[in-house]
Symmetry: D2
């Protein structure tokens, strides 16, 4: 008899996550219980959980439920961030893998971050806007504020999946990359060819500053006025992870002074207020939470889910998804995705 897998992927759907090929593989591996278009009803969860080998989705799994889930070996979050919907301690104790598929967004976000960085360094959207207004300036006189990414000083706040995906794309540019990440050992960072640095050193030295950290209990508004004032004139901030890391009022004030530039993919409220002054600044690139959410990212999620289920069914550890860590999962702090 095939093992049972509960699929409760809301706000994702099976079609979003799985290519026909991967769906076929999934069906050949497991007997599927699926609920789409909202969270799986409690009765359905309660009915199937005792026999389930895995849960794919953000189903509430407090201790009471988990204690009845005697066959459970894996829970896979397909939203992107670990949330307080699971009794993680119980899972760790029982050897239930808690896995996150957010790693699948890495390449898409890294490409967007690079595109935004080049967009700021070369004024691509700003010059395009001028051109559309018939006010373009030709040649070098339009490049007073342009600079090369090659050889530039780059900073990263956070060096998880996004940082590691980005650093690969930056390799040919031979940048000097400084990284601030208080969760990571210096010499581990150094193996990636980056320079572990204190926050203030990263801020002061970087021509391009990528904010890549996830939201934690400790880093709310960590980039505020004090930090923004340490950035050199002409520096470019690229925010692609979580809006909560940045004090948006301080950022708006700083950007209005025109001394730095910013590319922003996430916002404290989404939708962002229609009349917010950031919408009118020339030194800003605005993007509506678009960095990771490509069709290819979701299908990569599905691919990783199927591969790791197969690993687990073969008595092997999961490989592709990211494991919740006993030490840090409680410190993650994420807004659920609003569909």
């Amino acid at each position: 008899m095939k093992p049972i897998v509960l699929l409760d992927p809301h706000p994702r759907t099976l079609e979003l996550l799985f290519s026909p090929e991967d769906l076929g593989r999934l069906k050949s591996l497991a007997s599927m219980t699926v609920w789409e278009g909202g969270r799986m009803p409690a009765a359905m969860v309660e009915k199937h959980l005792p026999t389930a080998l895995a849960v794919i989705g953000q189903t509430d799994l407090p201790r009471a439920r988990l204690e009845r889930a005697r066959n459970l070996r894996a829970i896979v979050n397909v939203e992107g961030n670990f949330q307080p919907n699971i009794d993680y301690a119980f899972c760790f104790e029982r050897g239930i893998h808690v896995l996150g598929a957010g790693v699948a967004f890495g390449t898409a976000v890294a490409e967007m971050a690079l595109g935004m960085a080049l967009g700021l360094a070369r004024g691509i959207p700003a010059a395009d806007r001028q051109f559309r207004k018939g006010r373009e300036v030709y040649g070098r006189f339009s490049n007073q504020d342009s600079f090369l990414l090659s050889g530039a000083d780059v900073g990263c706040i956070g060096f998880g999946n996004l940082g590691r995906a980005l650093i690969k794309l930056l390799e040919p540019f031979r940048c000097r990359v400084r990284v601030y990440d208080p969760w990571l050992a210096d010499r581990w960072l150094a193996e990636f060819g980056v320079t572990p640095s204190a926050l203030d050193a990263v801020l002061a030295a970087s021509r391009i500053l990528f904010v890549l950290a996830g939201a934690t209990a400790d880093n709310e508004a960590m980039i505020g006025k004090r930090e923004l004032d340490r950035m050199p004139r002409g520096a470019c901030l690229v925010l692609v992870s979580r809006a909560s890391l940045v004090d948006f009022d301080a950022l708006t004030a700083k950007l209005r002074q025109g001394e730095i530039r910013a590319a922003l993919d996430v916002f404290p409220r989404e939708p962002f207020p229609k009349t917010h002054p950031l919408r009118r600044l020339d030194n800003v690139i605005l993007s509506a939470h678009r960095a990771g959410s490509l069709a290819s990212s979701y299908r990569l999620m599905g691919e990783m889910v199927v591969d790791d289920l197969a690993q687990i069914l073969n008595g092997l550890p999961p490989l592709r998804l990211q494991r919740a860590e006993r030490e840090t999962v409680a410190r993650m702090r994420s807004m659920p995705v609003k569909r």
Copy 2:
């Protein structure tokens, strides 16, 4: 006695080309005769040419002048493209190096081309425009037409300095790169990890098509209706070398149909007509001949000029600038830069 160098760099200036350090090196190497703000007057050229070791600039050097330039060992074009201002055959015969500094634009143009490609693939300027209008769409529903550069099919028309600079930046994306360049042997191309291909194969297979070839006697309007119609739906054309390669009327018609996207840095007339319909299309990124002309590019030119003059003065071949080739220089066709 120091060798004599004529500096006639218009439309460049000494300050544009040389860092203080490089200007110092130049002065220590040679006795300089300088004219700025226009072409060097004939009398001045005639007076100094017979003793000059090198001419830096686009000075007219027909056979009559060259025959009197008995010490001349190098002519350096600092504009970017070889022009019909020199009797090249005479130079080749006499062993006078004719060198071009256009290679210094390579990295800047490659970074811009990549920034534009990511801008098209992810809709960065288009989404920014929508956001400014308060019409942004959040998350994956804004990414219907977005795609990853990683693993994409990429095409290059032309594979000179620009192509080779670009290919380095593309390396981490592991694209499949097809190249059409009729001046280059297939197996030479293959050493760069690209696939030499016929023009039509490049057109039909490429999701992103970079037009990187210089203007020659043979390639005027080589990208016309027939070629554009071979591009797959959703493909992105990035034009950063010469406008003459593309039939802009055909391109405009094609873009108006909305089936492809384009990023354009060069135009058949600059300034481009204020009312041209390209200025209003959402699937276009417009840039006013900005790709190469960074301050750092000009200073790199100067660096290369000083280094190669030092090589020549040491009885060594030049290294950094690009040599005019006997076989191809006559086939180059360039508009002079209008300052």
Copy 3:
């Protein structure tokens, strides 16, 4: 009060493992209880274990002992392979990290494997022997059996730490690399740019075959006569992980026929019999378990130990050492190191 760490590193020593700088860091982090020159006496273990935060070494840790180790958060194996000296299930349940320092050997083993592969491909030690005998052959007539690694078909049996370290060194050679590793998902492998393959396909296609897998319950003598006979004429086998994977009698017979070549760093018995016929074959490179055991490898182990202890003391997950996996640790099978 500082946390307590038990150091029972035999067959390693503190001096072998820790640079003065790392030893200083370790002392600043923890109060150390050390025993060298043999296994820590039971009484000493029993005394300190109840308060210890970490054990560094291969101390026996059955359930009875672990139950009393109420502060224990990490056990670090500094020998290289997980052994049956620990009640792993208990550790997983209690969230005690069981970490292996064998990953520190990766670079050293990969460099040796590459050196051996080039040594076989180009006949470096064999030609050196001939030269010493005055029988050297000059130039191309000595290269009848030589081949380039660049572009060669390479196979890997196993793709853990060693494989991943090796693949980085092979990158500039642009080899086609096929990998057989039944513990790893195909698409995870593909992300490294290698081709996941069945064992027989790897054997038949590889000009150079690296045996890199650790010893498990399943792979004893997996490379026997049948497998060796699938290797193409002139193929090179490089064995740097565990001797138990190879049937040495079959290998010896195959090598005596002269159809393949081999470089061997590990042997079924060490010391290897003095009169073994492998010692006399010209198509063999012999190395006495030397691939990983460099001074720098041990100091890297120490560095990793200190970094991960610091992580754990900071309430963060370990980063640099390798975790024992619930699913696979029981399937590992290793001889203890004989000092």
Copy 4:
């Protein structure tokens, strides 16, 4: 009518140089006049030279002959080094390309140099010899003098084709590479990621010193007692270009002291004296001029010859072979190859 090409490739042969496919291409491009097994007889040269478009080989081509070669557009040396057999000045004046195929040896020599460097750093041939004698030492006690190439200080004397081929292979090792090459501008070198340095700085800083320079009028015995004494204890010299750069008596004396190690592929006399003391030293790897002369190198030569002939016939500059340089060709100094 097809253009005429003279093939006088001694000491190479057509079969050595050309794959069947390349020979076919050559025949389709040109009408071939071939002489093998020795230098082409004068009468044959005189007869065909006036109509020849290209000469492939080391045919004597003094001014008198060249003046009658009115169709000649290329001369290709397939031996490896430019020699005084041609009136180069005349060729430069007339625009006859003088091309060398020695560049085809680059990858083969670079792989050998790396194999030798790893062989010295890890004692691969020396440990193999001990093993064969039954005197092997197991594990780390055999690695007292072993070191990693990763992160090591590397020096290059000369940075032509060989240096550039080698540097690619060294990339994953992240070495600090210092280069001494008086023919090359510092900032040109820096673009390869290496540090241009004075000779003494390279000698003093390098753990591995690659001697890669061709023989010139200026560098005979440039590595003598003074230079060898600057090398640090335990340093490794890898000589793969020309023996004339090294004072072999001084090198022998130095190696007998045991303070450095060396891998030698070229010798002042070949065959090297049978009783030379270098043949008995344990800190030496000996190789009888084997680094470049692989079958694949010669076929790559042929491939390059055919590709560049095709370029020339198409009115395009040659791409793959290396051009003789007006400034330096007279300073090259090479022994002809003895077959």
